[in-house]
Symmetry: C2
Subunit: 159 residues, 2 copies
């Protein structure tokens, strides 16, 4: 199976610094839009007007910046499911230049399934969402394993 | 010493979802502006027209979302230096509601000092920047230790 492409965009003028490079926070905005698109694939929606009344909230995210990206560059997000349980899903979003082979940024994210009407409050995935998670996980079996998952920030010991 | 407040803002309309809550990526944008302000304090600038010709690039960031923040809320970023070496500095940015005592988000970040004219290429901090890092580190000795530093994303083992 090809990689699951969840989002495509060009780098917009609002997202770059004076030098035409994508600012760190806007890499995460692109990944945020990718999560919205992923939600659609498992029967949820980023919009609580959606009939499901459920959504995913980001609990925690880690991001690695690998290469600069410039204004106007076409990029795409490829998404893998690292793991999930009854209420949570860990996603790995990778940013690539469109049709390119080089990862320019990566984000490991833990997302919580919530019932919007009840709080919002954490809630088990529906049977439909669980089936979609299983199906998407199966479909990515031949993808290369995520390179930047489970990382910890820290300086190496002093020399 | 009081905490080092690097950035203050109200939550802007461009940063919230249909429900008036700050979107995940825009927490990181607020922290990105805090890093810009931190650079000014160590004799750098986010703007390479700055005389120093040096800047900080984000290598890696981790963010924990602790509470929702709504449109119009006044917030502030409190920043601590976790560690640094000759070329890198690890910052811990915390987001608080203005004058509040509750951390609403936290970000651990590894930043690299770069010479913009040379590439950009990694470069040792100037003596002036090192002195500023030492001074700021000393000044935060009585601050509570960061609660969300050195974290790893992952699901707990299945029960």
């Amino acid at each position: 199976m090809p990689a699951l492409i969840t989002y495509k965009t060009a780098i917009l003028a609002d997202w770059v610094d004076y030098n035409g490079h994508l600012r760190d926070a806007f890499y995460l905005l692109i990944f945020s839009y990718a999560t919205d698109a992923f939600m659609d694939r498992i029967g949820l929606s980023g919009d609580n007007r959606d009939a499901s009344g459920h959504s995913l909230f980001t609990l925690e995210a880690h991001i690695n910046y690998l290469h600069e990206v410039k204004l106007g560059q076409e990029v795409e997000v490829r998404t893998q499911i690292v793991a999930h349980d009854r209420k949570r899903v860990q996603l790995y979003h990778s940013l690539y230049k469109a049709s390119g082979d080089e990862e320019v940024a990566a984000s490991d994210q833990m997302l919580l399934h919530v019932d919007l009407a009840a709080g919002p409050k954490s809630a088990p995935f529906s049977e439909q969402s669980l089936q979609a998670l299983h199906r998407l996980t199966e479909a990515q079996h031949d993808q290369p394993p995520p390179a930047y998952t489970g990382r910890t920030i820290g300086l190496p010991p002093s020399r």
